[in-house]
């Protein structure tokens, strides 16, 4: 066994080693070290401004880190754009505000990246898109434009769009916090199904019911560090850190 395999096992899909990030003088991520395994579902939570979004956005280089090492599926996150492109192809992302392309209909939103980036033939991409739309429960909306859909439907299209690239990892940045209460469940159900299919998922959310039921691990962020990291049973029933206890008491 080489040293490499000891530290980065094949089942480790995301490896962070002492990762730091600054916005100007503001130290947002202050040394993140963690390893996420293939198929793991990780829920990230913590107070506003603690760096949760910044953390998951460094996984696909929407934000650049300034110190430390990030490895995604065996590929080192360097300034080499080829590495970045490869990583982005394998990492899907779902945003709080959906960010669907308003000038394209649902079908084109989903098929754009597969046909342009993965160079899949249009027919095949459309078939895949229909499968995904059925999976997220809205096959009848394929020809509509994003503005003609409800928030919950838009977010499900966004999930289908990300899945169409056949990613190995899915990132969710507060996917339900812009939704009306009655639509939250339909999105969480899709995510639940995705998790049970074995997808590696990192989800920022304060839906603690979802976390308890679906997460393998939970990470509590505060002031740019991971304060506590453990299975939901530990986080909810026996939190080790004062800050976790305090935060959970405020939101539960």
């Amino acid at each position: 066994m080489t040293v490499y395999e000891e530290t980065v096992g094949v089942e480790d899909i995301i490896v962070y080693k002492d990762v730091h990030k600054w916005f100007g003088n503001f130290h947002v991520l202050r040394g993140i070290t963690t390893t996420i395994k293939r198929g793991e579902v990780v829920v990230v939570f913590g107070p506003s401004g603690s760096g949760k979004s910044t953390f998951i956005r460094t996984i696909n280089r929407l934000e650049e880190h300034q110190r430390g090492d990030i490895t995604v599926d065996g590929i080192a996150m360097t300034n080499d754009t080829r590495n970045i492109d490869t990583i982005r192809r394998d990492v899907g992302m779902v945003f709080q505000s959906f960010n669907l392309f308003p000038h394209l209909n649902v079908m084109s939103n989903i098929t754009l990246a597969p046909t342009k980036v993965r160079k899949i033939p249009a027919k095949q991409a459309e078939m895949l898109a229909m499968e995904l739309l059925e999976r997220v429960g809205i096959p009848e909306q394929a020809d509509k434009f994003p503005a003609e859909l409800s928030g919950g439907q838009q977010q499900r299209v966004a999930i289908a769009r990300a899945l169409a690239m056949q990613p190995k990892i899915m990132l969710f940045d507060e996917p339900t916090s812009a939704l009306d209460p009655e639509m939250i469940k339909e999105v969480l159900d899709v995510m639940h199904e995705l998790a049970s299919s074995g997808m590696t998922m990192i989800v920022i959310t304060h839906e603690m019911g979802f976390a308890r039921e679906v997460a393998d691990r939970m990470m509590m962020f505060d002031e740019g560090i991971i304060v506590e990291d453990g299975p939901p049973a530990q986080i909810f029933d026996a939190p080790q850190e004062e800050r976790t206890k305090l935060f959970l008491s405020q939101i539960l």
């Binding site: 505000s97 308003p102 342009k116 980036v117 690239m165």
Partner: protein, 416 residues
């Protein structure tokens, strides 16, 4: 239980009479408050007086014979005078060009499936066919000219049939054919030395509405892509590119078009090799295009800035490279957001083509002005001439804004 029964008995009712129909519209919009009653009265009065005197002048006082005397010069300027075309048999070339445009229009009608394109095609073809029956003597307007005018309707039908029954009936083919047609028209108008029936006609003699339209088509066709390039360059992080674009844009926006045209007489000859086909037409086309591109660039940049940053993030997260993000995500949205400004720029470009008089070209306005000046017996008819010209320009610009509104509605599907 009682609430349930109320829901069941609630029925669909028509809106109250007071808000429907013309009467309803007037009640709601014109006379709903005392202030509006006042406004309506004042403006109604002004409207009636203006209409009364305006129509009275148009139908009774004005002497429109001057337009008849100007005749074909309104459309082609001096293209067919003896000096330009010995034998005066070149009139068919602009007319043939027009027929080609009609074929394209017919194809567009077929592809768009009627609606606005159909109305525009029918109106323009109708107007041209009407020209075939103008009450001139046959010595002034020969049968050949009349036939070529009348051929516009068959040309329209031909285009329609081509698009309907061949593989050329797609938007991309029409775009390609439009480009080829434009080049063909230029060759047709310019002529080829040594070829019978196509003896060269110096661009010095190109004029009239034909000149305005040619310049406008070049300007519109080129200023959009150049403007997009400049806008992207101005948003570029490469300092050199950025600086070049900013300098270009600010230079061309900072100087009046008329000054640029004047300077072009001196500057453009310096910028090109000596054997480059230089003439005032090319110079005017270049200056008008660049001037309009600078404004276009700022319009597009405004559109790019109005985009939600999440759009770029989503595209990047999907792995789209920068150029594809620009091409498929940013530009379509940016352009859609600023269509009114873009069409405004097209309209202003079209009107500005009149300024080429400053470098000695006889566009439709200068043509008419020079005619009046050269024929003092028509001095009294100057009013009629300029009212007529205003109407001609208005027809074209109105068509443009009408098309733009339709395009906006069409692209507005799914707008947030």
């Amino acid at each position: 239980m009682s609430t349930d029964s109320r829901i069941i008995t609630a029925s669909v009712l028509p809106p109250p009479r007071s808000v429907t129909g013309i009467g309803g519209w007037i009640r709601v919009n014109l006379v709903n408050t005392w202030f509006n009653i006042g406004l309506t009265t004042v403006f109604g009065f002004i409207l009636v007086v203006a209409l009364w005197y305006g129509l009275k002048w148009v139908f009774f006082d004005a002497d429109w014979r001057v337009i008849g005397t100007l005749g074909g010069r309104i459309i082609i300027g001096q293209y067919n005078v003896e000096a330009a075309c010995p034998g005066r048999d070149c009139f068919w070339r602009p007319q043939a060009g027009l027929l080609l445009v009609m074929v394209l229009l017919g194809m567009a009608w077929s592809v768009s499936g009627g609606g606005l394109t159909k109305r525009i095609a029918v109106l323009f073809a109708g107007a041209l066919v009407a020209c075939a029956f103008l009450p001139y003597g046959l010595d002034k307007m020969g049968l050949d000219v009349r036939l070529l005018f009348a051929a516009n309707v068959p040309a329209l039908a031909l285009g329609w049939a081509i698009a309907r029954h061949t593989r050329l009936g797609t938007v991309s083919w029409i775009a390609v054919l439009a480009f080829c047609t434009f080049i063909l028209i230029l060759v047709l108008l310019r002529g080829i030395p040594g070829v019978p029936y196509l003896k060269p006609v110096s661009v010095l003699y190109w004029g009239g509405l034909m000149l305005n339209l040619l310049l406008a088509v070049v300007g519109i066709g080129l200023s959009l892509p150049i403007g997009i390039t400049l806008a992207l360059g101005r948003s570029s992080r490469l300092k050199v590119v950025n600086l070049l674009c900013v300098t270009f844009i600010e230079t061309f926006r900072g100087v009046p078009l008329i000054t640029l045209l004047f300077m072009s007489q001196v500057l453009v000859p310096l910028a090109f090799p000596e054997n480059f086909p230089q003439n005032s037409l090319v110079r005017a086309a270049i200056i008008i295009t660049l001037f309009s591109s600078a404004y276009m660039a700022e319009n597009i940049r405004g559109g790019l800035q109005s985009l939600h940053p999440g759009q770029g993030e989503a595209a990047r997260a999907l792995g789209l490279p920068v150029w594809q993000t620009t091409l498929f995500i940013s530009l379509p949205q940016a352009i859609r957001n600023v269509i009114p400004a873009i069409v405004g720029q097209f309209i202003s470009l079209f009107k500005d083509t009149s300024l080429v008089y400053i470098i000695g070209m006889l566009d439709v306005v200068e043509m008419s002005r020079a005619f009046i000046q050269g024929n003092p017996e028509y001095l009294a008819s100057a009013k009629e001439v300029f009212v007529f010209l205003a109407a001609v320009f208005w027809v074209f610009t109105f068509t443009m804004s009408h098309v733009s509104r339709r395009v906006e509605q069409h692209l507005g599907v799914g707008k947030r």
